[in-house]
Subunit: 545 residues, 2 copies
């Protein structure tokens, strides 16, 4: 038996486009002699469809897509993820299903059992879990169909679920496992996936074909990297990351095993490539091609600009330099050097007198108080207005340049430097932004060395430095990581050796700035715990604040 797996880039709700892609892949697989082709989870409608699932019309369209694919299942079987209706009155109205299509018809439907409802996942919001388990018999083989999370409940110390779908299917003697996934990227996720797939293969003694979605949906990057594991636990094949691919395998050869082909998974390489895909798909799927960025000469806007240029092409990125009275000479020079290194167009717009126009209005009302956040923020917001006006006039999308550390502690101006349609590095801590800059420069200087080595500054006041108001980034980022990613509380952090006052101050900053993050652009997720849909916090809470 020859089995094809296709990791494709689907678009949520674009049923026609998604079906067309799959029909092309079916034709290619047939030409390669495949008996069966497997696509990823909810491939017809794209993942995650979120509350579109509540519209009957959306489900009707998904059913139409399945009908088209079923008609094309001639001399080949098609395995594809799509929502299906729960015919029982009680319970949720839908299942998250794997359809087995052959001989021009739906032959069997296996529903997903384990419905992730944590972090970015909301599946129990929509779906009823499966209660029946039946292998598919096809051309003399028995196939265990599983959907994403269904294979993740083994070998955990603290399992989230009380059932294991493969344990239910195992007594029926399956020859191999198909897994249809939409597994979002985090920099450590690829290794975990291999670990989990291997644990299944070793436990059940049969090979697995694991098919992931490859494409970005706003904040979520589905990184492909589909897997084929042999019964000996070896990684028979690993599809490329961050791009579409179709490959065909002879089942007997996979059964024989003995082959191992792991890919390089250097953290910064993965983060870099994930963000490039995230930016490219955000623009492509919204029908935009051009980005605008405010370039300050600092490292955040520099890294953002490079990633945008790599995603969209340098000809599609426009940068604006907006020096004020507090901007240093080197900032302008560094920004200009970067634009020239990348070969992108830039405009220089000195903006000191716009600040003056605002202060003319505000000074009579402002009391004789010292310069404070109010003035700082006017400076940041005036830049936002300029960038947004250009983006409106020319049809650019403004990219947000905030990093995760400053988003965490609220070191950014809402409606100022926090503007933008997409947060490019909002899940990258400041210390990681430096690593990413070094990675970008690995084959030669793209980001000016001075941008990387100079002390970070918002340049809203004379000689201002981030370290004037924030702890050293090395310590800040470690505390943030333990609090945000690892959910450590104040007691645990203090036990780790961090100073109590510092811990209380940082946690308080994180919590009182929830209102700012609530109004931020979607953040491309590259860590296991990003700001946004995967981290849901009360705004008016009175906890560690």
């Amino acid at each position: 038996m020859r089995i094809a797996i296709a990791q494709l880039n689907f678009h949520i709700g674009n049923f026609d486009g998604n079906v067309r892609k799959m029909l092309d892949a079916v034709a290619e697989a047939k030409a390669a002699g495949a008996d069966l082709i497997c696509f990823s989870e909810l491939a017809t409608c794209g993942y995650p469809p979120r509350d579109f699932l509540e519209f009957d019309d959306f489900i009707v369209q998904a059913e139409g897509a399945i009908a088209q694919l079923a008609a094309a299942a001639q001399d080949i079987a098609i395995v594809v993820g799509s929502p299906s209706r729960n015919p029982v009155i009680e319970g949720k109205d839908l299942y998250n299903s794997a359809y087995f299509l052959a001989d021009g018809a739906i032959q069997q439907v296996q529903h997903k059992t384990l419905l992730p409802t944590y972090d970015i996942f909301d599946e129990y919001r929509y779906f009823e879990p499966a209660s029946e388990f039946k292998v598919v018999e096809y051309r003399g083989k028995k196939i265990a169909l599983t959907v994403c999370e269904d294979i993740w409940n083994i070998g955990n110390e603290n399992p989230l679920y009380t059932i294991c779908p493969m344990d239910e299917l195992q007594p029926q003697g399956p020859d191999f496992i198909l897994n249809l996934s939409a597994s979002p990227f985090a920099h450590d996720q690829a290794e975990q996936r291999i670990h989990v797939v291997r644990a299944n293969v070793e436990r059940y003694g049969i090979p697995m074909f694991y098919v992931n979605h490859a494409g970005a949906q706003t904040e979520l990057i589905f990184d492909g990297g589909s897997l084929v594991l042999s019964p000996d636990g070896k990684l028979y094949d690993e599809l490329p990351y961050f791009e579409e691919a179709l490959r065909c395998y002879d089942l007997d050869e996979v059964m024989a095993g003995g082959r191992e082909r792991p890919q390089d998974k250097h953290k910064m390489r993965l983060i870099h490539d994930a963000i490039v895909l995230g930016v490219r798909d955000y623009f492509g799927k919204l029908g935009f091609s051009r980005a605008i960025v405010g370039l300050s000469g600092g490292i955040d806007s520099a890294v953002t600009t490079v990633l945008a240029a790599r995603a969209l092409g340098p000809e599609n990125v426009r940068v604006i330099l907006m020096p004020s009275q507090f901007s240093s000479e080197h900032s302008i020079a560094d920004a200009r050097d970067l634009a020239e290194n990348l070969g992108i167009a830039y405009d220089l717009i000195p903006i000191a007198d716009i600040y003056g126009a605002f202060m003319d209005k505000l000074s009579p009302i402002f009391p004789a108080r010292p310069f404070d956040d109010a003035e700082d923020n006017v400076q940041a917001r005036r830049r936002g207005v300029i960038l947004l006006a250009l983006s409106n006039k020319f049809g650019h999308i403004l990219l947000n340049t905030s990093n995760k550390s400053e988003m965490a502690v609220g070191y950014g101006t809402l409606y100022g430097d926090m503007c933008g349609g997409l947060s490019v590095i909002g899940d990258v801590y400041k210390t990681e932004v430096f690593e990413l800059a070094r990675y970008i420069n690995k084959d030669g200087e793209v980001i000016p060395e001075n941008t990387i080595v100079k002390p970070p500054s918002a340049e809203l006041r004379p000689d201002q430095k981030d370290s004037d108001s924030l702890p050293d980034y090395t310590i800040l980022d470690e505390v943030l990581f333990q609090y945000i990613e690892k959910r450590q509380g104040p007691k645990e952090l203090i036990e780790m050796g961090f100073e109590e006052a510092l811990v209380r101050r940082i946690l308080r900053l994180v919590n009182i700035n929830e209102f700012k993050r609530h109004q931020t652009a979607p953040v491309i997720r590259v860590s296991p715990k990003a700001f946004g849909m995967g981290r849901r916090m009360p705004i008016v809470g009175k906890y560690l604040s």
Copy 2:
């Protein structure tokens, strides 16, 4: 037996404050001779605690709160909602529980069974459902403890769950039902609650004491209105809406029934009072007292200002009038009249020349293109910068004045008039804003008549009217209501008689503007389907767009 119920205003994560409130209520109930006092769902930690539940420290604090309350349970039983740990390794780590405290100790813990995971609810994200059901025996009575949703699975045509907790408890012969709720307000929710409580009472033939939370948590208003129903199905008592209350009942009298005391539930009254509580608690719980609003002379900012003045006191609301070259004379007069009617301070800041300062910079870069959204948005954003500068300088919170209709179709400027810490009327359609204005004026003119009767206009261009670019609000709002609240698709809307092109245009506007709503302030929820946490849509979707 005398039973006290207390609907209190808890603050998420403020364990000390919440326990103090409950201890005061316990003392009051004891003084009134109560045998038992019942509080609402997750009363110790506040509802909804969201991802704070993932922090062990948070659960430790909840356990500490229970220990304090247990110690106070002397000569009275205390029934209180709090998270508890799931001792079984498999499944979610927590339960959403009702604790029965008496004789200084935890006597029994009944977990919630039905975990709402739809709209604004995410309970299955955190909690494992109950699998054991046991009535509490206390002073010769058997008590069925239920938590919120547990009583909502009866009499539904399309039940969400496959189990009914009261059916499990019924065979143990309970004498009455206690229900601990945190049921958020929507304008039709109070009637539904009475209907559901009555259906339970009639089915099981025993009285119910239904205790709701009373207070606002950012976007969610918990409206109190706790209920006592007698076995004859009559509404024995209904506690006040939108405020704290404690009442004590003789069980025999409740059993006797025959008494019915429903309250007025006029839609606009409920919406008005809900928003006033929402604004008051947002400020109070964040530790702010003063609001700032940009007053245009139009109806949205007028209604927002009145609601803010009623929530915070007129002395705590500051309004800014910012006429531009396109503002009409009557706009300034209407805004000024409103400020004077309310007795609030206002400043007049003409801003035409700030626009000029921006255009001086932008004109050399803008090509010779007609005036478009770019210029409109500079106008709106310059107002935002002024309001935010004042709010930063004086410690106000800026209130957002967008209504639901314009949020739906994206008729608002991101980072301009869409700025603000809280969206006050973002769940009120434009046609309802007019109704609300009439309700506000019911005892005399507060909002100038001219503000209500003149045609709506953003006043960003000469003689601009909303009707130049939007359908008539009567039609627009009906289509939006059917699409948003009723989840009707294009086919159903066209079948209802709406013109196809109009339907397609409106649905497209709703869907392509998801990116704007993603960055909006939290919206006070007054309808069954508000923008925000209860409506989760993809941004890069390609569906009806």
